[in-house]
Amino acid sequence: MAAERTSLAGTSGTEPTEGGRSPAAPAERTRELLPAIEPERTITDWGRSERIEGLLDRTLVDFLFRYWFRCEVEGIENVPAEGGVLLVSNHSGALPPDAAVIAKAIREEHSGTRPLHITVEHFFKGYPGFSALIPKIGCVPAHPANVHRLLHDERQLVLVFPEGRKGTEKTYNHRYQLRRFGRGGFVEAAARAEAKIVPVCVVGAEEAMPVFAQLNFVKRLTGLLYFPITPTFPWLGPLGMFTYLPAKFRIRFLEPIDTASLTMEPAPDTAMVQTVAQEVRARIQENLDEMVASRESVWFG
């Protein structure tokens, strides 16, 4: 336990120098000691609500997935049936639809029943409405400790967008051009948790909500994360944030990348981490290019 715990604190930028160190115990022990699931509850410890997620899934998400975006899924078999898995995807749209459709794709097509945890910005936790809703539908704040607990201790499926805000901020003329992949933190997180990385490519999201411009001064004025100009926002008011154009979606899950070869102890091998991050990014970009090139119509695929 000590090894994972201290390394965990390392990722969050703090150093463990408390009075006592936890006694060394194997990773199995930390899993055994996880709180047992209480069957009477419909909300998980992360705040995920079966009821609300199910309701949204049966209505809005199902409609978007099936009829609006007509999602086509490839390579779902690349998502392992068990163990911690980190899905890494490209990101776009002011209120990105990609997370919802990836979650739906896994729910619909994957052989096992694995819930997907989506990492989101801390911003949402501080914003009324979003703060209450976002955890209910399976989102967790993107904190290294959260990702580690989910991947390593709970062995869950976690989706990250390493481009982060840089991805959703980008305007239409930069579509399908991946931004920088953070500082490779996602590779480090996966390696520490001994989780596999599955790159995911989503085509269609850029056209579903094209961003023509970002108004930075309005952003500062309103305190929002960003203030985009899209075909429907701000013209339709807040509703415009949820209005997508009916682009055809294609989701491709690429082959898993093993992170077992990366050395994380005592210190992460930064060069290797960067190399793997670059490789993941290159593979997503390559596949995106290929998918966009083979697409005949934005709307009909």
Binding site: A9, S12, E18, G19, G20, P23, E38, I43, D45, H143
Partner: protein, 373 residues
């Protein structure tokens, strides 16, 4: 809970495993001090229990001796040396700014802790073990918090409220003490929000309202711990060798709306999302009291990782959900039984008579047990 022998794994600390025999409970008149003393009285391996506080005990205790002292370290040191106390349990920390005036709370939390530590610092002090009841306020509640705080994590921002500052300062003096006296095993227990039938905290007060207020647009994650579990955790720390910091929080993190549902009540999101603190101030005057340190908890919530304490052999009696259900039972029963229980008042003369008078038959208890002949 098995408390056989302090055979905890060596943690590389200077302090050796030590069996508690003679215990000083500071803050005897607080809820926790009283409960702990009660629990320790039933343990025959504890030879002596001395309790100090500036006010009189609120619980009827049998063999605990009460000494009325404030936070004067010289007096505490004298008591510690005179009675050769090997274990000090500090239960005084005030964690709810609604129960105590801010100045008094600071005096108690920061200066009091400093003085008690000063009373145990002397090089030849008999103290070998120190248990400090701290609070999860150490971590605070912020937007960019992790979902589950582990003991190694520092709070990501400076403390915002008076109570949080106090807790952080008290823990700082505690870690200074650890450095100065490496031979003393120091256990710090960071307790999360406690629910219990005898407890009146800001949280239980809020949950007792017919309509439970929430901040509009927020549904924070709440974790609780039952008061019996806190007493047992303190007891566990007294009997086990477990230096270091431990989170005390029951299994399960609930959403506030879930908590309200479990209590069979309805939420009412009347607190505005912006300027909540400013809005809470006039409400306080109306008798609806939300302390400063609770505002951010109602907004962002907080979760603690409790696995370190479990790894130290502790088993919780209640999950967060069960603690809430227990509170629900109590809230329904409370109007029926309120005022029917006789309150205990400490009378020095009576207590002294019972303990020291030659006419009180004190041997009865020993007589019950078979004599070692």
């Amino acid at each position: 809970m098995s408390v056989s022998e302090a055979t905890a794994a060596s943690t590389g600390e200077g302090a050796a495993a030590h069996r508690a025999k003679r215990v000083l409970v500071t803050g005897l008149s607080t809820y926790w001090g009283g409960r702990l003393a009660e629990a320790l009285e039933s343990r025959p391996e504890i030879e002596a229990i001395i309790g100090v506080d500036s006010s009189e005990p609120t619980r009827e205790l049998e063999r605990t001796e009460f000494v009325k002292v404030g936070n004067q370290h010289a007096v505490i040191e004298k008591i510690v040396r005179a009675a050769e106390l090997d274990t000090v349990v500090d239960t005084r920390l005030v964690v709810d700014s609604m129960t105590t005036a801010p100045r008094l709370a600071h005096e108690n939390n920061v200066i009091g802790t400093m003085n008690i530590l000063a009373g145990c610092t002397g090089a030849d002090s008999p103290v070998r073990k120190l248990v400090f009841k701290s609070s999860a306020h150490y971590y605070g509640c912020e937007q960019d918090d992790p979902g589950f705080f582990t003991e190694e994590m520092r709070r990501p921002h400076q403390p915002r409220t008076a109570i949080e500052r106090d807790v952080v300062e008290a823990e700082e003096s505690m870690s200074e003490f650890v450095q100065r006296r490496p031979d003393v095993a120091v256990t710090v227990l960071r307790c999360t929000n406690v629910l219990g039938s005898d407890m009146r905290t800001s949280f239980t007060r809020m949950l007792a309202l017919p309509l439970v207020p929430m901040i509009l647009g927020f549904d924070p994650r709440c974790e609780f711990v039952h008061d019996d579990d806190v007493v047992q955790a303190l007891e566990h720390a007294v009997f086990k060798h477990m230096p270091g910091t431990y989170n005390v929080a029951a299994d399960g993190v609930l959403a506030l709306s879930e908590v309200i549902g479990l209590l069979g009540k309805r939420p009412i999101p009347i607190l505005p999302p912006w300027g909540t603190g400013a809005f809470a101030a006039p409400l306080r005057r109306l008798g609806f009291r939300i302390p400063d340190e609770m505002v951010n908890q109602l907004r962002f919530g907080r979760g603690l990782d409790n696995r370190k304490l479990k790894a130290a052999g502790f088993r919780y009696g209640y999950t967060s959900r069960e603690a809430v259900l227990k509170l629900g039972e109590h809230l329904r029963l409370d109007p029926v039984i309120r005022g029917h229980e006789p309150a205990y008042t400490y009378e020095r003369e009576v207590e002294e008579f019972l303990r020291w008078s030659p006419h009180v038959r004190r041997e009865r208890r020993e007589m019950d047990e078979p004599l070692g002949l």
